[in-house]
């Protein structure tokens, strides 16, 4: 607060701008903007809070309640308390799909980190002039609907698609087309394609903040390039690594579009299962229970992240 007053003072007295005494409204406004009124803080967050309550908390609460109801005839909800949905969700039949979903999300996160880190590094240390352009290029896929992007991939990777057309017919490198679609690797590739920016942006954010003077100091003190990276740059970029990994992993676990369109019978993921309960199987209570388990998993992940971040901050202070 003292600092913000200092900033205002640095701008010079307000009188010099308006050449009049500040009225009661001016004084109120400036005290609100300087964060001196507690009620004002509530007022300022009210719209966002209302949004989150109505569109995030209320639906999650509804799903939580639904997960304890029973499925009635023709998929109607029976308002009778039961834990049967959770019991069913935790039977061994559903273990493979949970492990598969976590595995895909883990592999995607690892690949995103592997691909994203060098890119973010180059962005921070090499391309100062073209940085804006490169970030725009990275974000470009987001400007189209992800469905359009998925269909484009189908057209590119299909048996009669662009890649096979080139490899088999144009260049004659292969005698038969490769089957890309309906394979786990393609689903993971699709996930990497969609979530790479979620990894690169936080990485770039933390790499960009690494002071060049630290790196110069490391060099002056005789560290070779690898030591400089491993003992200075990498630890300082860890918050970005954590943030990027969490931001990639969480939506990946719940993703269903990629597996639905690029995958096959063996790439059925948790997101597909949940979506199927709401549509094909008409079992909303079970779908809700599965969704709550997913939410719990992801919330656990977030808590873990906060913990790691706090440790990171403490380690940074030492």
């Amino acid at each position: 607060m003292a600092r913000s007053e200092g900033d205002v003072a640095a701008l010079g007295p307000t009188e010099s701008l308006s050449r009049r005494e500040p009225g009661p409204f001016d004084r109120l406004l400036s005290s609100v903007l300087r964060g001196e009124r507690t009620w004002a803080s509530h007022l300022l967050v009210a719209p966002t809070s209302a949004w989150l309550v109505v569109f995030l908390l209320a639906p999650i609460l509804l799903i939580l309640i639904m997960s304890f109801t029973a499925r009635g005839p023709y998929g109607m909800l029976l308002w009778r308390f039961t834990t049967a949905n959770y019991v069913r969700a935790l039977t061994p039949a559903y273990l493979p799909i949970l492990l598969r979903s976590l595995g895909y999300a883990g592999a995607t996160t690892a690949l995103c980190l592997l691909l994203g880190y060098p890119f973010a590094y180059a962005l921070s240390f090499y391309f100062e002039e073209r940085r804006g352009m490169l970030i725009i290029l990275l974000m470009l896929p987001f400007w189209t609907s992800c469905l359009v992007a998925i269909y484009s991939w189908i057209i590119v990777l299909g048996r009669e698609g662009l890649v096979n057309e080139l490899l088999v017919h144009r260049f004659g490198l292969l005698s038969a087309p490769i089957q890309f679609l309906n394979r786990p690797a393609t689903v993971i590739g699709g996930l990497v394609y969609f979530y790479l920016p979620f990894m690169v942006l936080p990485l770039y954010g933390s790499l960009e903040k690494v002071p060049h003077s630290y790196i110069e100091a490391a060099k002056d003190l005789g560290a070779n390039p690898f030591q400089t990276f491993w003992r200075v740059t990498w630890p300082l970029s860890l918050p970005g690594v954590y943030a990027g990994s969490i931001l990639t992993f969480i939506p990946c676990v719940g993703d269903f579009l990629t597996a639905e369109f690029l995958g096959g019978p063996r790439t059925y993921l948790l997101g597909n299962l949940i979506q199927n309960q709401f549509q094909m199987a008409q079992d909303w209570p079970f779908g809700s229970a599965m969704a709550m388990i997913l939410v719990a998993l992801l919330a656990g992940g977030l808590l873990l992240y906060q913990r790691l971040e706090r440790q990171g901050v403490e380690a940074g202070r030492v």
Binding site: Y74, G75, M76, L147, I154, G263, G264, Y268, N276, M280
Partner: protein, 352 residues
């Protein structure tokens, strides 16, 4: 590739269209003469709706689904704005129980008498109180003659390891569980957990060979040769066989299912009068024949029969002769508990 893109765009349009009727229903202003019609994808002749629009001045907002349960869950979730839907026989009792559809006022339909007497009194809707039959067909095996050493004749051919990775199966509970039961020689309306476990184990065995489960894209892949044989709906394969002479369709020797898809009026539809006009238009012999000729499914419209292409009318794959017909049966009506057991069984296959 062009076939793929065409269908893809249909599906994209479908997704975009999902919000269309709801939006249209919200808009105020002078009431437009229109019908919001929700049908299976690829299930009407190209010229049918334009013909109706031209004649009556009524606009038809056409929306499609490729999974009937998806249509049902939309209605159940309270998506409003549809006036007229197409639903399969086994779905009708559900829609009635949930009060989702209104009775059909027979006095307002001039052409209802055109329906073949065989379809006037179905088990799922005696006396056609709630439904007007639209098209009917069967579930069987579509295959590519040029790829197969010998044509399939049995459901067991969908379990043949020689065709691993070249097989597709429909993605819905009724057909997958039903046909597995038929293949195993179990009752087609099995209620016993042990019987359904047997069906599940069979389907899990098949899953290793299945390229994917699909109720709409399998046709393109059959045409392109990406898959060789598919659990399929009759008309879909027969339509595609016009472009690709290598495609054929067979009703397996163990028997299979036939179904009737019917037009239903959504309860309290905003455009009831216009919907009835559209139903009556579809009931005309020439329109019924137009749709059946284009989509290669059989028409329940008796008066339309003589207007059908001879090739369609005489096709045993469309109008099965008695020796094949006796192996066909409707999807069995399932009580709610059995239905849930079937659904669970199918989900257990999919999650593995």
């Amino acid at each position: 590739m062009s076939a793929v893109t065409r269908r893809d765009f249909i599906r994209l349009a479908l997704l975009a269209g999902a919000f269309g009727p709801a939006w249209a229903a919200c808009s105020r202003g002078p009431r437009k003469r229109q019908v919001n019609f929700f049908n299976w994808s690829n299930y009407i002749a190209e010229e049918t709706l334009p013909g109706f629009e031209k004649e009556t001045g009524i606009t038809v907002n056409y929306d499609m689904y490729s999974d009937e349960e998806e249509m049902f869950s939309k209605l159940k979730a309270g998506v409003q704005g549809y006036d007229l839907i197409v639903a399969t026989d086994y779905m009708i009792p559900r829609l009635k129980t949930l009060s989702a559809i209104d009775p059909i006022p027979h006095d307002l339909l001039k052409n209802l008498g055109n329906i073949d007497p065989k379809f006037q009194n179905p088990d799922f809707d005696p006396g056609l109180q709630f439904t007007v039959p639209y098209l009917w067909g069967s579930t069987g095996i579509g295959y590519n003659k040029s790829k197969m050493p010998k044509p399939p004749s049995s459901w067991k051919d969908l379990w043949d390891e020689r065709y691993a990775g070249k097989i597709s199966a429909l993605d819905n509970t009724r057909d997958d569980i039903g046909c597995a039961l038929v293949m195993l020689g179990l009752p087609a309306d099995a209620k016993e957990p042990a019987q359904l476990e047997a069906a599940r184990d069979a389907l899990l065995k098949q899953k290793k060979l299945v390229k994917h489960y699909s109720s709409s894209t399998y046709i393109d892949e059959l045409v392109s040769g990406e898959i060789w044989l598919a659990q399929a709906w009759s008309g879909d394969v027969l339509q595609a066989s016009r472009d690709n002479k290598q495609l054929d369709y067979v009703i397996p020797k163990e028997g299979s299912f036939i179904w009737v898809d019917s037009l239903c009026l959504i309860r309290g539809a905003d455009h009831r009068e216009e919907s009835l006009q559209l139903i009556d238009y579809i009931l005309r012999p020439e329109v019924g024949a137009q749709i059946a000729n284009a989509k290669r499914f059989a028409s329940p419209n008796g008066a339309a029969t003589k207007l059908l292409d001879a090739s369609l009318r005489q096709d045993p794959r469309v109008y099965p002769p008695p020796d094949i017909a006796k192996r066909l049966r409707f999807y069995p009506p399932l009580d709610p508990d059995t239905e849930e057991l079937w659904n669970r069984t199918w989900q257990e296959v999919k999650v593995m």
